[in-house]
Amino acid sequence: MSELTVTVLRLGLLVLLWVFVMSVASVLRTDLFGTRVVTRRPAPAKKPARSAGRPVAEPNTPRPQRNPRIPTQIVLTTGPLTGTSLPLRDSGVLIGRNPECTLVLDDEFASGRHARILRAEDGWYVEDLGSTNGTFVGQYRVGDPVPVETGTAIRIGRTVIELRS
């Protein structure tokens, strides 16, 4: 075969090698995982959506009708994680220091599995899971499940969790 063919093959191999490296790198770029922190209020409308991630819900999109007394999220108002919010899912929220909890607290006064917020037929309840320092709703120390609604503040150690809708 001609010298030209050999040269084309030789350079083609180098190009293809780098094409491979680049495509691996581009897969890496879209392969983020872990947790994502989204700024909720001042999100600019023309922020580009990530190509690989699921589309982030636009803050302005109208949501289905909701009852303001039924909480849909919990917000940490005092303590090391102030400002964090978490959606309330029907499967409930397990709170504690243990990494397997839904809400992992960075609080020395919290137990490993401290409390959980759970869904019953008539609304949301908070239940203490035998924690050392207790879970408080107002001045009342929670034992058996206690009903909670929007605006209720739950205190765990140095953390205060508020239910919002």
Binding site: R10, L14, L16, L17, V19, D31, F33, V75, S91
Partner: protein, 458 residues
């Protein structure tokens, strides 16, 4: 500012993996065509047969991953396939240069070893459903590693080029120290995850550095010293360096103390100085490193000089596969395969290969970050460092960054033991990355209502 934290579930990426693996096979096919066009001027008739075997092997791994580890990292398999394939093509090319055809050449044997290695890797992937099981065998692994390292000193041992690192079983030779790498990573991970707090916090302070108590540090030091001692008896300094690097890296990752790195490098320097005084073997290696082109250096280890000359002949874009003269260097398919590749692929090609290794290492460390259990984190880090240190020691050795020691370039270099071990290592890494990327199961409130059971009473 109000923030919300949501979990991103990663895509499984199995289709991406299939696509990238196909691309990797494409690169290997093009490289194979390159070789035979340069050699005989024709596209080989057995092209699809030969590359098909590699493709089938890669496809088998891919299918098992879909079946048993569907969240495993999608990038590891394509990279490893490409590295293995490039190595095969290079070995085949050197076979042709030495007058061996495919059926009698080293490439076929390497391909058989690849098949065996993948077989073991698949067995590991299928049998090992959870890497945390390995933690039960912490001390067993440590002991087994020492036994494997010491095996060549027994009558089974077999010596090649002055290094007693082989065992011979019939017609079959094997380097047992290769397996010890994985076993030692398991041992270090299992031991460190249990004692790292003690190592980091308890101890005596001397000169601003906190030294741990002997009872915490003892087993590690004993294991490492025993391994190093035996390896020095066997003249296997490459593996000594590898195990020491692994030891320091894992200690640093476990305790987050930079003083370990300083201490480790100091100890290594001291040890190297002592060995230098006593072992003539090491003195030669150092002479070759510092004075490669002197008369004595050329006499003792001319292959280092010819390797460097080969790389220089390749230049930026290389001579092209099949058009250089890499066989002028002794051992062009094993210890010096890096210079062979650098001569024929040039700086551009060899940097692509180094990038592939870097990406592989990055994926390993990323899996370690994604994991939630300490043992898995340390194990993933350890296995990744085993790969990284091998690459550094080999490439550093042939490019005169460090003295030349005998390790193999993972997946590329000719050598059965190394291929088997590295495929097994990758299987464990894939299993770990599957755990790291798999989304957690939703918290099930019903499980909390079940009565607590005493599982094990001490």
């Amino acid at each position: 500012m109000r923030r919300a934290i949501t979990t991103i579930t990663p895509a499984r990426g199995r289709n991406v993996e299939l696509l990238l693996t196909a691309l990797a096979i494409g690169v290997v096919i093009l490289a194979y065509i390159n070789v035979s066009v340069a050699e005989s001027g024709t596209v080989p008739a057995d092209l699809l047969g030969h590359t098909g075997i590699l493709a089938a092997i890669a496809l088998a791994v891919h299918l098992v991953l879909r079946w048993r580890a569907s969240y495993a990292d999608p990038i590891i398999l394509p990279i490893v396939t490409l590295l293995n394939g490039i190595g095969l093509v290079m070995i085949h090319r050197l076979d042709l240069a030495a007058g061996r055809d495919f059926s009698s050449g080293l490439a076929l044997r390497q391909l058989v070893w690849t098949g065996l290695g993948v077989g073991i890797a698949l067995a590991v992937l299928i049998a090992l459903r959870d890497h945390r099981v390995l933690r039960r065998y912490t001390y067993t692994a440590g002991l087994a590693a020492l036994v494997f390292i010491a095996l060549p000193l027994t009558p089974l041992g077999h010596s090649v080029y002055g290094a007693k690192i082989w065992i011979k079983l019939g017609a079959f030779t094997f380097q047992p120290a290769e397996i010890a790498k994985i076993l030692l990573a398991v041992f270090f991970a299992g031991y460190l995850v249990q004692t790292r707090d003690m190592l980091a916090l308890a101890g005596h302070k001397v000169l601003g550095i906190t030294f741990p108590r002997a009872r915490d540090m003892g087993p590690l030091v004993i294991a490492w010293l025993a391994a190093a001692f035996v390896l020095v008896l066997e003249n296997d300094f490459g593996t000594t360096l590898l195990i020491f690097g692994l030891f320091v890296a894992m200690l640093y990752v476990a305790t987050e103390r930079i003083s370990w790195v300083v201490l480790g490098l100091g100890l290594a320097a001291g040890g190297a100085l002592v060995v230098y005084q006593f072992a003539s073997h090491v003195q030669t290696r150092v002479l070759c490193w510092t004075d490669t082109f002197s008369e004595e250096g050329m006499q003792q280890c001319g292959q280092l000089a010819t390797g460097i000359m080969g790389m220089a002949a390749g230049g930026i874009s290389g001579t092209g596969l099949g058009r250089g003269r890499p066989w002028l260097t002794p051992l062009p398919e094993s210890d010096f395969i890096f210079t062979s590749l650098a001569e024929e692929l040039g700086l551009i090609g060899i940097f692509a290969i180094i990038m592939l290794y870097a990406l592989l290492v990055e994926r390993g460390l990323r899996s370690a970050i994604g994991l939630r259990d300490g043992f898995g984190k340390l194990l993933a880090t350890g296995l990744t460092f085993v790969l990284a240190i091998q690459v550094f020691v080999v490439i550093g050795g042939v490019t005169r960054v460090i003295p030349l020691t005998g390790l193999t370039l993972p997946f590329i270099a000719y050598g059965g033991s190394s291929l088997l071990t590295n495929w097994t290592l990758v299987a464990i890494l894939l299993r770990i990355s599957d755990h790291a990327r798999r989304p957690e199961p939703e918290f099930d409130p019903a499980s909390m209502d079940a009565p607590t059971q005493m599982v094990k009473a001490r």
